[in-house]
Each structure stands twice: as structure tokens, then as C-alpha cells.
């Protein structure tokens, strides 16, 4: 039984195709102004990758910031529910989940079945989300995909005072003028965003194991900073299910439940 999950994020739209209990394929496209169109593209791209036919999909569940705009979906679920199901599928031992997307971060506690317990915290400040790292990579003129490994090469810890993405950009520029090494600056960037997210996690109470999902989890520098802050290693999804697809996966799992697969 084939089901699909779509995560209509503010920056990227992700689609995951599931066959019964097995992950088939996933794809990501930029969330354009027309969310529905992006969702179609993401779905088709994922279908192509696993050579699956659109008409074989029994149920499509959509989640994410732009979910209401996707009219071809069968139903919607909250992002937090999708986070929980997706994370639990990959890491059944996870009891706390941190999801950091492009514009928003959230933390939730789940039970042994991947169901969200009654609380979660949402962080709608760009300085705590992917937008922060992206803006800094632009200010540093460094490819965002290399930010992680560069930060691991840092030799010195330097403080970052700005708490806002916009102000941090200016701070990074003046650090560059002061001839601070890019590696040290990038480490400071990761430490800063990790500090904010660690505070967020601590507020909800940490119950191990802790899983980290969302696009920003691909950044090994950020993950390293988080691990240092927490004093233990976070569980981060690896290929074939990359961290940014976990929420869409959660939606696909809920879709499967709906059609009793």
C-alpha cells in the first residue's frame, strides 16, 4: 500500500513516498509563491525517483506551514504530530524531538508510540532557525554546505553578542574586518544558534534519547555544538532518510494509518 506525505515548509517543500512500512523515495523543491504547485513538483519528483505511479498512491497527508494551500491532499495534520511520528519511526528510543527548520524551531516530547505528549515549544525567531545560518554563510561568502566542516576546524572560541540575525550579519562583517578566521566565526555562529536551541530544549525538560530533525541537522558543525551544550550525543537521521524529510515521513505514516496499511 503506497502512501505519501508532504511537508509544505516555508522555505522548502518535501515529499516522501512510503510503501507499507518501507521508505521508497523523497524529494525536495523550493517552496515557491504557489505552495500547491511546489507540492505537486515535490511529489512528482519523489515518484520519479522510485518509479512509482501517482495513481497508486492511496492517501496523501500534508503538513507544514503551507499545508492549507494544498488542495489535492486527502487531509492535514499538525507539524508537531508529523515530527513525532517521523522521529519515532527512525529512532524508536527517542523521547524528545528537536525540529529546526528554515524559519522555525520546535521541541516536543513523545511517548513510546511516537505520540506527542501534551506540550511543545515553538520558536518563531529567525535567529534560532536555519535562516540564521544561511544569512551568516552569505555574509561570510562561504558555501552553506561547507559551514559544518569548516566550523569543526576552529581553534578559538569567540563570543557573539548579537541576538538578531540582521545584527549578527553586521557583527560577522566587523569580525572579518578584524581578521578573525572564518572557521572561528563559523563556530561562533553555530554555538550561538545551538545555545538558543539548547535553552529551548531545557525548558521542556530533556528525556533521552533526544532526536534532532529538520534541514539544519545536516550541519555537522551545528550538531557538534548542540552535543557539546547538552553533554551527550543527539540522534541524527542519516541516509537514506535525510533529516529534512523526517516530518514528511511522519505525514506519510499517518496517511498509512488512515488507510489501515
Amino acid at each position: 500500500m503506497i502512501t505519501a506525505g508532504i511537508d509544505a515548509g516555508s522555505k522548502n517543500t518535501k515529499a516522501v513516498i512510503l510503501k507499507d512500512d518501507k521508505f521508497l523515495s523523497a524529494a525536495l523543491v523550493l517552496s515557491g509563491f504557489d505552495q500547491e504547485k511546489s507540492a505537486e513538483e515535490a511529489l512528482n519528483s519523489a515518484l520519479q525517483k522510485s518509479k512509482t505511479n501517482r495513481k497508486d498512491i492511496k492517501h496523501i497527508t500534508v503538513t507544514g506551514a503551507g499545508m492549507e494551500a494544498i488542495s489535492f491532499a486527502n487531509d492535514t495534520i499538525t507539524t508537531i504530530t508529523a515530527n513525532g511520528r517521523g522521529a519515532h519511526f527512525i529512532f524508536p528510543s527517542a523521547r524528545t524531538v528537536i525540529d529546526i527548520g528554515a524559519e522555525e524551531g520546535r521541541v516536543l516530547r513523545i511517548d513510546g508510540q511516537g505520540k506527542v505528549k501534551d506540550f511543545g515549544i515553538n520558536e518563531k525567531c529567525a535567529a534560532g532557525a536555519g535562516a540564521f545560518i544561511e544569512a551568516m554563510s552569505r555574509a561570510l561568502e562561504v558555501d552553506i554546505n561547507t559551514m559544518g566542516e569548516l566550523s569543526l576546524k576552529s581553534k578559538r572560541k569567540i563570543p557573539m553578542n548579537a541576538q538578531c540575525t540582521i545584527f549578527a550579519e553586521s557583527e560577522v562583517v566587523s569580525l572579518i574586518h578584524q581578521k578573525t578566521s572564518k572557521e572561528d566565526i563559523i563556530k561562533a555562529v553555530h554555538d550561538a544558534i545551538a545555545d538558543r536551541n539548547t535553552s529551548m530544549v531545557r525548558q521542556i525538560g530533556i528525556e533521552k534519547d533526544v532526536a534532532l530533525i529538520g534541514g539544519v541537522a545536516k550541519n555537522i558543525g551545528f550538531v557538534d555544538s548542540m552535543n557539546n551544550n547538552l553533554g551527550f550525543d543527539l540522534l541524527v537521521p542519516k541516509d537514506p532518510i535525510s533529516p529534512e524529510y523526517v516530518t514528511a515521513l511522519g505525514a506519510a505514516l499517518v496517511a498509512r494509518d488512515k488507510v489501515g496499511g
Binding site: G128, Q163, R196, I204, G205
Partner: protein, 96 residues
């Protein structure tokens, strides 16, 4: 009633610590009570020609007050806060 509001409103909400500088009796108990070093005793900013020393939120913390105070507010709920409890005249209030 002279009110100093320290904190901010950002994408995730509004977080202010308000200190009524007229009520503050400069006892310093709030500074001792705070486990994070958020508060300190300093010259009253609002009265530069005067000589009073009162409690203020230290400069380092003003921009990240939500994170600084998070350890005393698990689950994001307002519970008995050490600084508020320590202040007899009731000069300190948290908005979240």
C-alpha cells in the same frame, strides 16, 4: 512609580522584566536570589543626576532575557520566581 522595562518582543513572543525603581529599596536580595546573574545593583539610569543604586537587569542579559530566565520557568510556565519572591517591596515583575 518609575518603571524600567528590560527585555524585548521577538518573533516568538514578549518577554519583559519590569523593575519599579521607586519601590526598589536597594536591598540587593534579588541579585543574590537569581541563579543566572541576570540582576545587578547599579546607578539608576533614569536619574543620572541622583546618587541612588538600584537593581537593574544587566546589559548582557537584556537581549536574551527569555533564555537567561528559562531555567526558572520550566515548561514555559510562570511559577514562583526566586527574584520576585526575594523582593519585599514587590518591585520586580515578569511579563511571561
Amino acid at each position: 512609580m518609575t518603571k524600567a522595562n528590560y527585555g524585548y518582543k521577538d518573533g516568538s513572543g514578549e518577554y519583559y522584566i519590569t523593575i519599579d525603581t521607586d519601590l526598589c529599596n536597594s536591598c540587593g536580595k534579588c541579585v543574590e536570589a537569581c541563579p543566572e546573574g541576570v540582576l545587578e545593583m547599579a546607578e539608576d539610569e533614569l536619574d543620572p543626576l541622583g546618587d541612588e543604586i538600584i537593581a537593574i537587569v544587566s546589559d548582557d542579559h537584556r537581549k536574551k532575557i527569555k533564555y537567561s530566565c528559562a531555567p526558572c520557568k520550566p515548561g514555559g510556565e510562570l511559577i514562583k520566581l526566586p527574584c520576585v519572591e526575594a523582593c519585599k517591596p514587590g518591585a520586580i515583575k515578569h511579563s511571561w
